[in-house]
Amino acid sequence: MTESTLFGLAFILYIVATLFYLAFQFSKKEARAKVGFALASLGFLSHTAALILRTFESHHAPFTNMYESLSFLAWASALAFLVIDRKFKIPRIGAYVLLIVVGLVALASSPLMPKEATPLVPALQSYWLWLHVSVTLLGEAFFAVAFITSIMYLTAKEPEKKDKMDSVSYRCVAVGFPLFTLGGLVFGMVWAYKAWGTYWSWDPKEVWSLITWLVFALYLHTRIVMGWKGKRSAIIALVGFLAALFTYFGVNYLLAGLHSYA
């Protein structure tokens, strides 16, 4: 099987899994969520195989252009969902997290994204590419799950459901924040130092990673020290995810445009 076949198969499995989780939303029949979980796991496996195949064929890490990195972020989000659902038994978020996964895969498959594996420019030829990008995107995937649970906290009515969403949000941040710090900031600084000779140069992408980091630092301080839980906590987690999203997408498309002035 080729990479694109496996990728397409993963796409279909994610979509069907999403449909099962949506059906579960309306009827709360456990079996539907179970089928959804199994399908999402199969999709994840197929996606994993596609990424491995691409790595072997291109001889480099599978996240060197927008197509690859979107696909990897979708993969990481699927992984984050499977881990969180297994640990906290929270199938209610399945439909929404998988919608994000499906959206990312769809974006990656869009004709706007060049899919050819191109040879790596000298700056990207480093094992830090693996460490920096994979760990950062994994951290962002957990922020994505926290984003969903925070929205569900804000829209939920029953106190029991609210409590669960609030606590899972925190647990996602507790995983995502250290990963993001390690991958995005620490590994980013180490790599920048090795490749460019300076660990920090206030480039917009760096600054936006720092902003994302500051927002989640705010989340932790208000929550742990000031005891802000629930609504305000959920809103900060939302803002944090949007900042992470902007770091990932927006800086490339919006600020690059702004900075290409003159």
Binding site: K194, L214, V251
Partner: protein
């Protein structure tokens, strides 16, 4: 003084600073940083003066941003110090005695009655807690024993370790800002450059560019030798991502360039009257080469520009030092007499604007097009390597700080401190055990462990 300390250690200040720092950082990404005054004037008009004065155009190096960071550091220092003594006390000399009522007030608690005197019950409780990896302290008074059992006490220092790590990173940044040295070195093969304020120099032995099959650059390799006095101490290849480190200096491959002073150019000569005629010849800029002895034809290359553009006053000049639009000004000779002259372009081989050498500028009548046509087939220029020499004494602190921050996260999130307190009291040959549990993190897992401990004490396996 007390009020100042209280203000500086307050969580509210921390929150306000986090928000202001985030806001200032955003501002710095919206306004392009470090451009020229003219660029700001063109972009922001009359506002540009104010922006420059507020240092919003060099925001991350501005006095007020430094001030913010300083306040942030001060907040962390004061906050950590004020909390640390209480935490150290709690870790090393905790209060062991518990009040019966205090335990009853906890969320996680239990009460067990055992037949038998106190010492036996105490041994059982201590053994069970030890089996669960708790470290137990005891305080006895009369017919009462208080136990304090804890595990992973280091966890309470997680946030402090993170904060110390951040301070180390900030101080590393200050040291970098004050003491780091950077210099670009343009090196040609064989050239020796002495590194300022050191006792060594650097020689570029060979510089090569390796291409992928599709023509894009795979890597640049600078073969470097470190020289101390006359002898070579070290020889290494430097590439992007593979800097050379020697005596605190790092040498990075940052760029490359072409030597356009004396490139060698390959010229193709054709005759309009004779389609079969084709001659190729290599000429150095400034030299003349004979094309054809029979016709006494010769060509000379007067000038070469890597990126031809018509500049001010329609004068040819080069836009950059990259070979984007290579062009050569050539002259053709027959029998020692100049017959044609004009620019030829590597990217536009069919461009034919050669004019006869004797045609007068601004002449109304067009001179007859010359028979001889030249093409710029290829060119070769030596490449030089651009390396950056950098010495940054702040870097080790950055890495130490990063390790501390990550270790602190590990402690804070994944090394939860759990505490089980117990009061054992003997009355009439029976011992009552009151248990209470405290966990700031991972409460569910703790509650399960607490229950298991209590269950085992109630009915030992």
């Amino acid at each position: 003084m007390k009020r100042i300390v209280k203000f500086l250690s307050s969580i509210k200040l921390a929150i306000v600073l986090l928000i202001i720092l985030a806001g200032a950082s955003i501002l710095g990404t919206l306004i392009p940083q470090g451009r020229t005054v003219e660029e700001y004037a063109a972009r922001y008009g009359s506002l540009s003066g104010a922006l420059i004065k507020l240092q919003w155009t060099t925001l991350y190096r501005s006095v007020w941003f430094m001030g913010l960071l300083f306040f942030f550091a001060l907040n962390i220092v004061v906050c950590t110090l004020t909390r640390l003594s209480a935490k150290l006390h709690r870790a090393s000399r905790p209060k062991v005695e518990s009040e019966f009522k205090a335990l009853q007030a906890l969320k996680i608690k239990d009460r067990i009655k055992k037949n038998g005197p106190l010492p036996g019950a105490r041994t059982a409780v201590e053994a069970r807690l030890k089996a669960a990896h708790y470290k137990t302290r005891a305080a006895a008074s009369g017919n009462r024993v208080s136990l304090l059992a804890r595990k992973r006490i280091a966890g309470i220092f997680g946030s402090d370790v993170v904060h110390v790590g951040l301070l180390v990173i900030l101080s590393g940044g200050v040291i970098s800002g004050l003491t780091s040295v950077r210099q670009n070195l343009e090196m040609r093969e064989g050239q020796v450059v002495s590194i300022p304020a050191t006792d060594f120099s650097l020689r570029l032995d060979k510089f090569s560019t390796i291409y992928y099959p599709d023509g894009s650059v795979k890597t640049w390799i600078s073969a470097l030798s470190v020289l101390e006095g006359d002898h070579t101490v070290l020889t290494r290849n430097v590439e992007v991502n593979r800097p050379l480190n020697y005596k605190g200096f790092n040498f990075y491959q940052t760029s490359y360039g072409f030597d356009w002073d004396a490139p060698s150019v390959e010229i193709g000569a054709k005759k309009k009257s004779d389609p079969a005629y084709l001659k190729k010849i290599k000429v150095k800029v400034g030299e003349r080469a004979v094309l054809d002895d029979k016709d006494q034809l010769a060509v000379s290359v007067v000038r070469f520009l890597p990126d031809f553009v018509l500049g001010e006053g329609n004068q040819p000049e080069t836009r950059s030092l990259q070979p984007n639009n290579p062009a050569a000004l050539v002259e053709g000779f027959r029998g020692g007499e100049k017959i044609v002259t004009g620019w030829i372009f590597a990217n536009y081989p069919d461009w034919d604007q050669m004019h006869a050498a004797n045609a007068k500028e601004g002449a109304k009548e067009k001179a007859p097009a010359p028979d001889l046509v030249f093409q710029l087939k290829s060119f070769e220029a030596g490449q030089y390597s651009v390396l950056e020499a950098a010495k940054d004494p702040g870097v080790p602190l950055i890495w130490i700080g990063c390790v501390l921050v990550m270790a602190g996260f590990g402690l804070a999130f994944y090394w939860p401190t759990w505490e089980i307190k117990a009061v054992l009291e003997e009355t009439q040959g029976k011992t009552e055990i009151t248990l209470g549990g405290l966990a700031a993190k991972s409460r569910e897992a703790f509650a399960a462990e607490f229950e298991a401990v209590a269950a085992d004490l109630r009915s030992p396996r």
